[in-house]
């Protein structure tokens, strides 16, 4: 019992740690930005400060953050706000787009020319090269390739044995490196054997090393000369701090990397190092490691990482969905009705159906940043059935009743309750809610021309 409580506490804290920083700050600032027609110098300045802080906390390199913030500022200033987005959302989108574009296009893929083609994995000690070599082998095997694993880390104790074991677990052949005394010999021999036995990809694991260790970087260069690999992948820990720029650059300048694999991505690090490495080397991030098992390797999607760095929940998905679902014409019509105070129960029902198109209420709300935290602190539960009941009640009304609910006397209400399988109290509750809603709409009408979209933007 105690254990399971502790488990819950952990996952909660891990989540909270991710949640507390940017999304909360964004919410606070968005509150101020909202209601203003444009993004101004002063409100942009305030939010940019927060963006800067959040990126630094996510371990994005200081210099890159500086450039990034300057770029966002330029794009945000004086820009006309899209009608469909509030200024806050608009700004978030600018930041997000800028991040995603810096992180590069979708799915860089592997370049596997040559036969056999050679993929070398390089990096610092403990970044996860050996595990990743096995994962990559499994990934390629599943794609119908015939990979050959080559352990070339003779320095770390039992590194060769580790890779041999991993290879046998995933049933991929592994070169027997143990008789050899230098990585260069291993490369030569493995390449020869691969040609004879018809393997089409060599995956070469190398010893971890510091980018400033000249002797070891020279060793890597000589291995590269022997193998002429089509891919030299820099394996990096996603928890790396400011130093990511130095190491990635160091490796790139010294041996020329073709891409990056980010490991240990299943923790709570924001992975800002990815941005640093991508920007400082110009090389794409190709895969991410998401667990200890051999199949925990995923193709990298820049947009997802951008969301993670910004810790935005899925607010953009929500915006996109809402934009797609809310029919422009219908919305205009509704706006007119609200203005003329003609919002009927019929319209109400239509609105419910629109919301349902977005997905379950729970899933919609969880896309709102910070909502999970609110839900936890206030113990809010969302009753999906409530919507169904409301619809049933409205369906049990006559057309006339829907147009003019004031005719609903006690006996009519009883009939409706019976017809919808609810109780009179529930019918009464709905009618009260409807009355409240109309009152709110009257206020809204006075407040401004935002209409339904205004209502919606208030949700997030």
């Amino acid at each position: 019992m105690g254990a399971s409580r502790a488990v819950r506490r952990y996952s909660y804290q891990a989540k909270r740690a991710m949640f507390e920083s940017l999304s909360d700050k964004f919410r606070k600032i968005l509150k101020d930005v909202r209601g203003q027609g444009t993004l101004t110098e002063s409100n942009v300045q305030a939010i940019l400060k927060e963006v800067r802080l959040a990126l630094l906390e996510a371990d994005v390199n200081f210099t890159i953050v500086k450039d990034f913030v300057a770029a966002v500022k330029e794009k945000a200033m004086g820009k006309e706000v899209l009608e469909s987005l509030s200024p806050g959302q608009q700004f978030t989108k600018i930041v997000y787009d800028e991040l995603a574009s810096l992180l590069g296009g979708e799915d860089a893929g592997l370049d596997l020319k040559g036969r056999p083609s050679v993929v070398m994995l390089v990096g610092l000690q403990g970044s996860g090269k050996t595990t990743t070599t096995a994962k990559l082998a499994l990934h390629l095997k599943k794609k119908g390739r015939n990979p050959y694993i080559v352990p070339a880390d003779l320095f770390r104790l039992a590194a060769v044995l580790q890779l041999k074991k991993l290879a046998s677990d995933i049933r991929v052949d592994c070169f027997d490196s143990e008789p050899y005394s230098s990585p260069a010999d291993i490369c030569r021999e493995a390449f020869r054997v691969a040609g004879l036995k018809g393997y089409d990809i060599l995956l070469v694991d190398t010893a971890g090393r510091l980018h400033i260790d000249d002797a070891l970087m020279t060793e890597l260069r000589s291995m590269r000369e022997i193998l002429s690999p089509s891919e030299v992948l820099f394996v990096a820990d996603s928890m790396t701090g400011q130093d990511a720029v130095n190491t990635a650059k160091g490796f790139n300048e010294s041996i020329g990397i073709t891409g990056v694999i980010l490991t240990k991505f299943d923790g709570d690090a924001r992975g800002g190092a990815a941005l640093s490495m991508r920007v400082s080397t110009g090389r794409p991030i190709k895969f991410i490691g998401t667990g200890e098992k051999a199949d925990a390797l995923e193709v990298f999607h820049p947009s997802r990482l951008a969301g993670r760095i910004l810790d935005m929940g899925d607010v953009l998905t929500l915006i996109e969905k809402a934009q797609a679902t809310f029919d422009e014409k219908q919305a205009k019509e509704l706006e007119k009705k609200i203005k003329r105070d003609e919002f009927t129960l019929e319209d109400f029902k239509e609105q419910l159906q629109q919301i349902k198109k977005l997905g379950s209420l729970d899933s919609i709300l969880s896309m709102v940043p910070g909502f999970d935290a609110i839900r936890k602190s206030k113990d809010i539960s969302v009753d999906e059935k409530e919507l169904v009941r409301i619809e049933a009640i409205i369906n049990s009304m006559t057309r006339g009743e829907r147009q003019n609910p004031s005719v609903l006397n006690a006996s009519r209400r009883q009939r409706i309750a019976r017809g919808s399988g609810t109780r009179v109290q529930e019918v009464n509750k709905l009618m009260n809610q409807y009355a409240d809603m109309r009152k709110m709409m009257k206020k809204l009408k006075k407040a401004g021309p935002m209409g339904l979209k205004g209502l919606f933007s208030r949700m997030s």
Binding site: V7, S11, D59, Q125, L161, M239, G241, N246
Partner: protein, 311 residues
């Protein structure tokens, strides 16, 4: 098995390069920061100087909060504007934050059990190897316990260190229960009257609840077999880790209580500045720093030296 010639050559070359020690290992750190500081003192305005100092700290992974705090303190004394005074003050500020965590490991009972923990790839096993060598050379008898039963060849890696240091290794098969290894290790340590047990554990991300539960179980088993054990929960942190190291320290601390930290891989270009944030928030003693791959490259943490090297 992998005591190959290439490796020995490499070791020899490294040795030839000289025993640079901590100061040398941190020299790059020092230079990087001083580069920033020196640039800062070439005819800039006060705020420019402060901003650039803050930048130096952030680039060392000190983190925004701690950096701001340090620079704010600096702002108060900046009235004097004397370069050397400022520099000294910045050093002192860092030292102030770190001196309370400069508490070397004391072996107070026998057998003294040290459980070594951390996320994957920070250098737990290597740290154990270096620690075993250090403690043996001090004349203590050391038992190694291969508690990482998960990762392929982790046991063999520890056995390699056992061979190198002459310390017995208590092990079971890969995939076995780490609790059972600990049980055996406690029994063996008592029977052999060992002075120290170094207990290796599998690397685990601090956010994985089930793996943290496993760690708690290992701790419980140790305590049941040997009251008071483990006497030290040594968290190994990689100096190249950024702000996430704070999260690691927090969650490992909540799970099993961290009593000491070893900061590894300080011989690269990473600065390990996050240790300042960890000291501020959690106050966990920093026992060791790793400044190279040689066994003697595990040094006792010295707050003054660290601060001097940083600024």
């Amino acid at each position: 098995m992998n005591e190959s010639k290439g490796k020995e050559d490499r070791m020899f070359k490294k040795l030839k390069a000289g025993f640079e020690g901590l100061k040398a290992g941190l020299a790059r750190t020092h230079n990087a920061i001083m580069g920033g500081v020196e640039a800062a003192f070439t005819g800039k305005s006060r705020e420019d100087i402060l901003e650039s100092l803050e930048e130096s700290l952030i680039l060392s992974d000190v983190g925004v909060t701690a950096s701001t705090e340090i620079v704010d303190k600096l702002r108060e004394v900046l009235a004097g504007r004397d370069e050397e005074k400022l520099r000294q003050h910045l050093r002192d500020s860092v030292y102030e934050m770190l001196k309370k965590v400069e508490r070397p490991l004391e072996i107070t009972s026998s057998p003294f059990v040290i459980m070594v923990l951390g996320v994957n790839g920070v250098g737990k096993t290597t740290t154990i190897g270096k620690l075993a060598s250090r403690l043996s050379s001090e004349g203590r008898s050391v038992v190694l316990a291969a508690g990482d039963t998960f990762r392929a060849a982790a046991i063999e890696q520890l056995e390699g260190w056992g061979k190198r240091t002459g310390c017995p290794v208590i092990r079971q098969a890969q995939g076995g229960d780490p609790g059972a290894v600990v049980f055996d290790a406690m029994k063996a340590a008592t029977a052999r009257r060992a002075d120290v047990v170094l207990l290796d554990t599998a690397g685990r991300l601090h956010t994985k609840a089930n793996l943290m539960e496993e760690l708690k179980k290992v701790q419980r088993v140790a305590g049941r077999e040997l009251p008071g054990a483990p006497h030290e929960n040594l968290l190994v942190l990689d100096a190249s880790t950024g702000q996430n190291a704070l999260s690691q320290a927090r969650l490992f601390n909540e799970a099993v209580g961290v009593t000491g930290i070893a900061l590894t891989k300080l011989d690269g270009t990473a600065k390990g500045g996050i240790i300042i944030a960890i000291a501020r928030e959690l106050g966990i003693p920093v026992r060791f720093v790793g400044v190279g791959e040689k066994v003697e490259d595990l040094k006792e943490f010295d707050a003054r030296e660290f601060a001097e090297a940083l600024i």
